[in-house]
C-alpha cells in the first residue's frame, strides 16, 4: 500500500515545490537574523549543500550571518521540511547584497567542503547530555563518535574538527566520586575507563587520559580544529601541562597529588592558559582556579550573569567573526563543570570572543596553536543553565533559535571555510 502511494506523494510534493516558489531564482539566501524560523537547522542546510558538493557562502555580519546557497530543488525541499526560512534571490539581488557587504563591516566567506567531524564521547552515554551532539543531531550534521581507543590508535588527521565536552582529561572522572561513587553509572564508567587504560598499556585512568590529551595536543599542532566545552576545556589544559607531574587524587591512581604539582606544571604545552593553580584538596570538587564560577564548590560558586559577544572586523578577523555570528549579542550564561575562564590565567595570544561585563572571567575563547586552532566555550548546555546529572536531554525542537547553540554550530562550519590569509 505504501509502495503504491510513495510515487504519488513524491510527484505531488515535487509539483508543490516547483509551483510554490519563483522559478527564476539562482540562489537561496538563508537569513540568520530574526526572520529565520530555525537557526539551528539552517546550519544543517548549509552542511547538506556542502555535502552534496555545492559551494556555499557565509555572509559574515550580513543579516545575522546569512548563508547563500545555490537554488536547488533538494535544498528547497530540505529547507521546507526542516522549517528553515530561505529566500529565493536572483543574481541582481545577490549583487546588491555584495555591494552592501563591501561597504560595511561584512564579508563573504566561501565554504567549500563539508568538514569531517569527530565527537569524543564514550560508547555508552553517561547520564548527562552533550550539547554538541545534541546540536549536530538536531541540525542533521554527520559526525563520527570516537573515544580513547580511536584517539590513541587511529589517524586523527582524517578529521577536520574534533569536539570535546564534559570529559575529564586529568583522569579524575570530574571528581564525581565525591557524590556518586556508589551510583551504578559511575562505577560502570570508571570500570570502562580502567579497562580502556589497561587495554592501551596504562596502569590507571589519569595516565590514559594524559596520553589522550597528548594526542589531541598533537592533532591541533598538526593543523586540526579543536572545539571544547564544559570541563573538557580546563582539564585538557591541565592534562597537557601536567604531562610529567601527578595531579590526580588518590581515588584514581592510588597516590596523592604531587605536593609541588603547581610549580611543576609546564604551561608551554597548554593552548590557552598559564600559571593556573591546581585545587590540591581531593575533597573539593574543583580542578583549578581556571574556572571563574566554581559551580560545584558551594562556598566559591558565583552566580550566573549574561555574556556579550565581541564584534570583530569581518574583513580583517574573519575567523573570530565566524565564531561569533549570531542574531543576539547578549546571551544568558549557563553553568558547567567549567563555566568560564579566569582572565588572570589567559595567555597573551588568546582571542576573547565573549565576556561578562565587569566580571573577572571570559566565556568564549579562541586561539591558534601550531598549524591548527582551538576554541573553548564554557558551560554545559546553553538552554539548560543548571543541567543536573540525570536530567533529560534538552529538546532542541523547543529551542530552534537558540543563540547559545548557534555558537557551537558556528564552530562546526568554520572548518569548511576556504583557507585564506587569516589575520587573527
Amino acid at each position: 500500500m505504501r509502495n503504491v502511494l510513495r510515487p504519488v506523494l513524491a510527484l505531488f510534493t515535487l509539483c508543490t515545490l516547483l509551483f510554490a516558489s519563483p522559478l527564476t531564482a539562482q540562489h537561496l539566501l538563508v537569513p540568520m537574523d530574526d526572520a529565520q524560523q530555525n537557526h539551528l537547522k539552517a546550519y544543517g542546510l548549509a552542511f547538506f549543500a556542502l555535502k552534496a558538493g555545492d559551494r556555499a557562502e557565509w555572509f559574515l555580519n550580513y543579516r545575522g550571518g546569512s548563508f547563500l546557497l545555490p537554488d536547488d530543488p533538494a535544498l528547497r525541499r530540505k529547507a521546507a521540511l526542516d522549517g528553515v526560512t530561505v529566500v529565493p534571490v536572483d543574481d541582481g539581488a545577490v549583487a546588491a547584497a555584495r555591494k552592501e557587504i563591501a561597504a560595511g563591516n561584512m564579508d563573504a566567506i566561501t565554504l567549500e567542503k563539508a568538514p569531517h567531524i569527530a565527537i569524543y564521547a564514550p560508547a555508552k552515554s553517561p547520564p548527562w547530555d552533550d550539547a554538541v551532539t545534541l546540536a549536530l543531531r538536531y541540525a542533521g550534521i554527520e559526525y563520527t563518535q570516537i573515544w580513547d581507543d580511536e584517539i590513541l590508535k587511529s589517524d586523527l588527521s582524517k578529521f577536520d574538527w574534533i569536539h570535546l565536552h564534559h570529559e575529564d582529561f586529568t583522569g579524575q572522572e570530574n571528581k564525581l566520586h565525591l557524590g556518586f561513587r556508589d551510583a551504578p553509572w559511575f562505577i560502570e564508567q570508571r570500570d570502562n575507563d580502567l579497562t580502556a587504560a589497561q587495554r592501551n598499556g596504562y596502569s590507571n585512568i589519569p595516565a590514559l587520559k594524559k596520553a589522550v590529551a597528548g594526542r589531541l595536543h598533537d592533532f591541533v599542532e598538526k593543523g586540526g580544529f579543536l572545539f571544547a566545552m564544559c570541563g573538557a576545556t580546563e582539564t585538557l589544559e591541565l592534562a597537557m601541562a601536567a604531562q610529567n607531574v601527578d595531579i590526580a587524587g588518590p581515588f584514581f591512581d592510588g597516590t596523592p597529588m604531587d605536593p609541588d604539582a603547581d610549580a611543576k606544571m609546564d604551561w608551554v604545552r597548554a593552548f590557552a592558559f598559564q600559571n593556573a593553580h591546581l585545587e590540591m584538596s581531593p575533597g573539593v570538587n574543583a580542578m583549578s582556579d581556571i574556572d571563574g564560577h566554581q559551580v560545584n564548590v558551594p562556598t566559591r560558586r558565583q552566580p550566573l550573569g549574561q555574556f556579550t559577544l565581541f564584534n570583530f572586523s569581518a574583513k580583517f578577523d574573519p575567523v573570530a567573526s565566524m565564531l561569533v555570528q549570531n542574531h543576539r549579542q547578549v546571551i544568558p550564561d549557563f553553568y558547567g563543570v567549567t563555566t568560564s575562564f579566569s582572565k588572570a590565567v589567559l595567555k597573551s595570544g588568546d582571542v576573547i570572543l565573549a565576556t561578562e561585563d565587569g566580571a573577572p572571567w571570559v566565556k568564549y575563547l579562541h586561539g591558534d596553536y601550531g598549524k591548527g586552532s582551538w576554541t573553548y566555550l564554557g558551560g554545559h548546555d546553553p538552554e539548560d543553565p543548571q543541567h543536573n546529572i540525570g536530567a533529560l536531554p534538552t529538546d532542541l525542537s523547543l529551542h530552534p533559535n537558540s543563540p547559545g547553540y548557534r555558537l557551537i554550530l558556528n564552530n562546526v562550519l568554520f572548518p569548511a571555510a576556504k583557507k585564506k590569509p587569516l589575520k587573527t
Binding site: R2, L9, T13, D182
Partner: protein, 569 residues
C-alpha cells in the same frame, strides 16, 4: 510483723523531712522558670525584642539554659544580630561544654554568619567531647544538607561512618543526603530503613522521594515494593498518586491490614484521588474502606467515583449495599441521584424512569426536569430516540433545550440541532464535533449524519464509522469532515486498514480540504506505530511540504524529528 523501734521511726521521719526539705524548692524553682519563660515568650510575641532579650537572659539565669539560648537565637535573628548570641553561648559552653542544644545553636549561628571554618572547628570540638555520639554528626550534616551542600554533608557522614562504625544512627541524614545527590534508589533504601524505627517519617519520605525524576522512579518503586513494611507501602501509594499513577498507588496500599491503620491510609488516599479526578482509584479505596467499616456514606462516595470513572455497573453494586442501611428520605436524596446517573449511563433508562416515577410525588419540579434530561440521555444510549423525546417532553417543553437539540441531530434535523446547540452549556468533544459538522454544511437535514451521531452516542463505534462514511455521500459540502470522523473512529477501534482507506480517500479526493493534513498526520502515526518508519516519514514530509500553512506542520516536524532520531512512540 515485728514492732517498729523508736529509733527506726525517728530515722524514717528524718529521712522524710530530709526529702521534703530537699524537694520543696523544686516546684518553686520550676514555677519561677516557667514564669520567666512565659514572660520572655510573650515579649517576643509582642515584638518587644529588646525586652525579650533581657527576659531570655533571665530564663537562662533560672537554669533553663537550652530554652533561653534558643529564645535568644530567635530574637537576635529577628534583629539581624545573629552573632550577638555567641558570647552568651561561649560562656555557657564553658560550664556545660557537651550540651547538645548549645552546640547545635552554636553550629547554626556560625553557619548563618558564613563562618564556615569556625563552624567546622566548633563541630570538631564537639566531636572531641562526644566521640561516640551520633548527635554532632546528625546536627552538622543536617545543617549542611539544609544549605544544599550535599558533598560537604557526605564528607561528614563518611567521617561518622568511620568513627561510629556505621551510620545506623544517622539513617535520616543519609537518606536526605542520597536524595540531595540524586541517588534515588539509595535514598529510597535509606528511607525505608529509617522508617522501620521511625514511622512518623512517612510524610517526610514522600516529600523527599517525590522529586525523583521520571527515569529514576522505577528504581524507587523497586526498593519500596521489596519491603514488606506497611510504611513502605503507604509511601509508595502516596508517591504513585503524586506521580499521576493513582491505580498503581492503590495497588501498593490495597493489601494493608487493619493493624496497619489501613482505614486512615485508604481514606487519605481516596480523598486525594478524588481531588485529582483519579476516579477509579478513589472508587477502589472508598470501596475497601466500606468493606472494612461498612457505612452508607462511604459506599455512596465509592459509587459516585465509579460513575465518574465510567464504571456504572460497580456503582450499582455499591448503591445496593448502602440502600439497605438508609431511611427513605436519605434514599431519595442521596441514593436516587446516583442510581439515575448509573442506570442512564448504562442505557437502562426504563429502570431509571421507574425509579423516578415511584418517588415522583416527593420530588420538586426542578429535580424532575433534571432527571428527565438524564433519562432522555439514557434512552438515547439505548437507541430509543422516540422515548428520549417523550421523556424530555414530559418534563420540559423547551424546544431550544440542549438535549432536544441533540435529539434533533440524531433525527437528522440539522437545522433544529444548529439552533439548539448554538450556545452549549459545556464544551465537550461531542459538542465540538457536532458543531463542526453543523457549521460546515449548509444542509438542513441528513438522516445518515444523525444516525452516525446516534450510533456514537450509543457507543456503537462500528456502526458510527460506517454511517459517518455514508453521510459523506449525503453531505458533499462536509464530506471530508465526515470521512475524517469515520477514520478517527476506525483508528480508535484499532481498525487500521479501514482507517487508512479513508485517509487515502481524503488525500486523493479532497486534497485541499483542511482534513487532508490531519489525514497525513494520522496515517503517519499509524504507520509509525506499526513500525513502518519509511512510510511514516513519507506522510510527515508530504504534510509539511504540501500543507505548509497547516497548523499541524509544527507537530509534524516534531514527529518527523522523533522518527528520524529513532525515538519509539
Amino acid at each position: 510483723m515485728g514492732r517498729v523501734s523508736g529509733e527506726a521511726i525517728r530515722s524514717v521521719l528524718i529521712l522524710v523531712v530530709g526529702v521534703a526539705l530537699q524537694a520543696s524548692p523544686k516546684p518553686v524553682l520550676a514555677q519561677a522558670q516557667t514564669a520567666a519563660a512565659n514572660r520572655a515568650f510573650d515579649l517576643e510575641q509582642a515584638g518587644r525584642l529588646r525586652d525579650a532579650i533581657a527576659a531570655w537572659r533571665q530564663v537562662i539565669a533560672t537554669g533553663l539554659t537550652g530554652q533561653g539560648v534558643l529564645g535568644l537565637e530567635r530574637v537576635f535573628a529577628q534583629l539581624a544580630q545573629d552573632d550577638s548570641v555567641l558570647p552568651t553561648l561561649d560562656s555557657l559552653l564553658v560550664q556545660t561544654p557537651a550540651d547538645k542544644i548549645l552546640r547545635a545553636v552554636q553550629l547554626r549561628v556560625l553557619r548563618s554568619l558564613g563562618r564556615e571554618r569556625d563552624a567546622r572547628a566548633a563541630f570538631d570540638e564537639w566531636l572531641k567531647l562526644a566521640p561516640h555520639d551520633p548527635v554532632p554528626y546528625r546536627e552538622y550534616a543536617g545543617q549542611l544538607l539544609a544549605d544544599g551542600r550535599a558533598a560537604a554533608a557526605d564528607t561528614v557522614l563518611q567521617q561518622a561512618s568511620a568513627s561510629l562504625g556505621s551510620t545506623k544512627a544517622l539513617t535520616i541524614e543519609v537518606a536526605e543526603l542520597r536524595a540531595a545527590l540524586g541517588l534515588w534508589a539509595a535514598a529510597a533504601a535509606a528511607w525505608r530503613d529509617a522508617m522501620t524505627t521511625e514511622e512518623y517519617l512517612e510524610q517526610t519520605v514522600v516529600y523527599s522521594l517525590q522529586a525523583a525524576p521520571i527515569a529514576q522512579r522505577d528504581s524507587v518503586r523497586a526498593v519500596l515494593r521489596a519491603s514488606p513494611a506497611a510504611s513502605s507501602k503507604k509511601v509508595l501509594g502516596t508517591l504513585e498518586l503524586q506521580w499521576g499513577a493513582a491505580r498503581d498507588g492503590w495497588r501498593a496500599i490495597a493489601a494493608l491490614t487493619a493493624a496497619d491503620s489501613a482505614f486512615d491510609t485508604w481514606n487519605d488516599f481516596a480523598q486525594e484521588a478524588e481531588r485529582q479526578g483519579a476516579w477509579l482509584a478513589a472508587r477502589d479505596a472508598f470501596a475497601a474502606m466500606n468493606r472494612l467499616r461498612p457505612a452508607p456514606s462511604t459506599a455512596l462516595r465509592a459509587a459516585s467515583s465509579a460513575i465518574s470513572g465510567g464504571e456504572p455497573v460497580s456503582a450499582l453494586e455499591l448503591i445496593a449495599s448502602a440502600r439497605s442501611q438508609l431511611q427513605p428520605t436519605a434514599i431519595r436524596t442521596q441514593v436516587l441521584p446516583l442510581q439515575i446517573r448509573a442506570l442512564t449511563q448504562l442505557g437502562r433508562a426504563a429502570e431509571a424512569e421507574a425509579l423516578v416515577a415511584r418517588d415522583s410525588a416527593m420530588l420538586d419540579a426542578g429535580t424532575r426536569r433534571a432527571y428527565a434530561r438524564q433519562i432522555a440521555w439514557g434512552w438515547i444510549r439505548a437507541g430509543q430516540v422516540e422515548k428520549a423525546r417523550a421523556s424530555l417532553a414530559g418534563a420540559s417543553g423547551d424546544d431550544e433545550d440542549e438535549v432536544s437539540a441533540w435529539i434533533a441531530l440524531y433525527d437528522g434535523d440539522l437545522a433544529k440541532a444548529r439552533a439548539g446547540l448554538r450556545h452549549p452549556t459545556e464544551t465537550t468533544a461531542e459538542i465540538v464535533t457536532a458543531m463542526a459538522l453543523l457549521s460546515r454544511t449548509k444542509a438542513d437535514s441528513s438522516r445518515a449524519a444523525g444516525a452516525a451521531f446516534l450510533a456514537l452516542a450509543r457507543g456503537d463505534s462500528a456502526q458510527a464509522a460506517t454511517r459517518f462514511e455514508r453521510a459523506a455521500d449525503e453531505l458533499p459540502d462536509a464530506a471530508p469532515l465526515l470521512l475524517a470522523l469515520a477514520a478517527r473512529v476506525q483508528s480508535a477501534r484499532h481498525q487500521d486498514a479501514p482507517a487508512i482507506a479513508i485517509w487515502r480517500r481524503i488525500l486523493t479526493q479532497y486534497a485541499t480540504a483542511p482534513e487532508a493534513a490531519e489525514s497525513d498526520l494520522e496515517w503517519a502515526r499509524t504507520l509509525r506505530r506499526k513500525g513502518d518508519v519509511a512510510g511514516a516519514v513519507d506522510h510527515l514530509e508530504h504534510l509539511i511540504l504540501t500543507y505548509p500553512q497547516s497548523a499541524l506542520v509544527p507537530q509534524a516536524r516534531r514527529e518527523l524529528e522523533a522518527v528520524r532520531m529513532g525515538n519509539a512512540q
